[in-house]
Symmetry: C2
Subunit: 356 residues, 2 copies
């Protein structure tokens, strides 16, 4: 059994997308919603992670405006374990912040990183996978990613192309390349390729290792992180954090570090996973009825099939509607073809027309 006493977990809860509009908004992002079951995605993520580490070694990085929401979702999270981003600066900055805070608590812990808003149904498979990732780190100084076996040619995900196997760690392989959101044709090929897995955004590394990478590959960002670390807990700590964070590059850890590092390995996920990237994910999480419709709420349909119908306030009636998403939420009503669910966030910028 692998030791977990020096393991810290970081949940990245800073996402603020609008792809689940009219439910998710900048004010209330997806991780806080209970669209898919009785508990929010954040609550489910926290429960999963707490099966690995106690809450004292769990850090949550989130936007400062969402701090009250985080406290409501995780009431017993120690105050100092909520790291408030003054502004959204993508995952490199968020992970870097967690890294310098963890450094003050332990000389060289193992750090696990988890997105707050994905769906993982099999908690035992999840624990097995993460313990395996930690076991790899006990023998190799690597950056560990978790790769999910593709079940469809998804064009919205990033793919990991694995290379040679690691000696002494069956199933674990070195990463040869990261492939971001492929074309349809390429996705079909990648999904069939046994060397390819989906990048779940779940990582594991020793804290010193990731810090060395920050210093080498993102020196400017690392300089700012060091200034934040040195001022942390001091009188001017908040001011330094705000100033330095605002100036950080908005870059993902995948792009800023992983894609440029030689020692990245991929551990196969022993669990099904979904990033719940858009409303069309609902048909993978809930079960479609005989007509292929996924319905939450009350629906009356004639010749309506393969739709996602979501509305809990009042009935939705559709006639001759095939392959569409219809959502009634607190902030409005959405109608779009399922195939274009990824583009829902574009609607935020579109001009408003008003009549009467």
């Amino acid at each position: 059994m692998v030791g977990m006493d020096d393991v810290y977990a970081v949940i990245l809860a800073g996402g603020g997308g609008e792809r689940f509009w009219p439910f998710s908004t900048a004010r209330l992002p997806k991780q806080f919603l209970t669209l898919f079951g009785p508990r929010s995605l954040l609550t489910e993520t926290v429960e999963r992670v707490r099966s690995l580490v106690p809450v004292e070694r769990l850090l949550v990085v989130a936007g400062a405006r969402h701090a009250p929401l985080i406290r409501r979702h995780i009431p017993d999270l120690p105050r100092g374990n909520l790291l408030q981003e003054p502004a959204g600066r993508d995952t490199a900055a968020a992970i870097g912040l967690a890294s310098v805070v963890v450094e003050r608590r332990h000389p060289d812990p193992v750090m696990l990183v988890f997105p707050a808003d994905h769906a993982i149904a099999d908690i035992r498979g999840f624990r097995r996978t993460m313990r395996r990732a930690v076991a790899v780190l006990r023998r190799h100084d690597a950056l560990v990613t978790v790769g999910v076996r593709p079940t469809r040619p998804e064009t919205g995900y990033g793919y990991i192309l694995a290379g040679e196997p690691m000696v002494g760690a069956p199933g674990v392989r070195r990463v040869r390349r990261f492939l971001e959101k492929p074309s349809r044709t390429r996705a079909v090929r990648l999904a069939r390729d046994p060397r390819c897995t989906w990048n779940a955004g779940i990582f594991a590394w020793r804290n010193r290792t990731i810090q060395r990478r920050f210093a080498a590959l993102m020196p400017e960002l690392w300089g700012r992180l060091c200034r934040i670390r040195d001022a942390w807990g001091r009188r001017n700590g908040g001011g330094v954090l705000a100033r330095e964070f605002a100036r950080m590059a908005k870059i993902s850890v995948d792009y800023g570090i992983l894609e440029k590092s030689p020692d990245v390995v991929v551990v196969p996920a022993a669990f099904p996973w979904d990033d719940l990237g858009s409303w069309s994910a609902l048909e993978r999480v809930l079960r479609p009825d005989r007509t292929g419709n996924v319905v939450v709420g009350e629906h009356v349909g004639i010749e309506s099939a393969d739709c996602v119908i979501y509305g809990t306030e009042k009935p939705i009636r559709t006639l001759g509607l095939k392959g569409f998403i219809v959502v009634d939420g607190p902030d409005g009503i959405l109608v779009c073809p399922k195939a274009r669910a990824q583009e829902v966030k574009r609607l935020r910028q579109a001009p408003v027309r008003r009549r009467r």
Copy 2:
């Protein structure tokens, strides 16, 4: 100038359709709604008709359950001028009821009949047309219909095929045939045919003439009407009305009388007209924007065109939606292709699916 002192007007306000669901319902039919402008269709109809006859000679036939609504829409309607149908029995029964009530007030008046829920923008053209219909009746004992010049090959309307012109009444012609809801191909031909007009459901006749037709063509219904007339105003009047009305055939005056009468004439309408039969009518009443969308409320659209978007409670956002109707109303949300707007009433009977 034609005399109007013996003219009675009857507004048929008994319709109870659901084609404007989620606004119109059996509880609140279309004629009471303000979907198309600041005033209800009934209010507009009453104003038009009052430009022809005083309110004392205006009768309104409506479902008993809607009596309070009628009184709110026409506060100064004399109490005895609201004829309450115990049940919906289509236009032959409604007109017959008005006929026997009018008979008690005047030995042989002219009766004008109007649907309560159509759109007629040109009130002067309307008055001119109706005065002309009355003028025809001063010289000929006929059943007068009003025919509207078609502006499109509408398949949802009834058509009137005119025959030879009436001597001494320019533009007025004898009716050769009524043609109900034609096929698409036939509608294209009819709309082009100068002899064809739309049947607007507006009629004029002497009361004795229509009663003779009832007696000859619908003798059973006429018998019931006579029993209602004889009991009218007596202690058992309500009971007789309820009993006889419930047993009447559900037949339109067009089908029960006009199509079988030899002396029907058609006066051309000097006004544009729309029966507002479904949500797609909105694009004829309101002006589409540059993208062809007709919007009431707040709409954000990307690649959305030729839609009818109606929602005043919260914003509606659409992406890649072409030729659809989206309506957010008090009783629910409707989504269907514009071309199938006529079928919305079918949704009432469809099974409800509920989840979570």
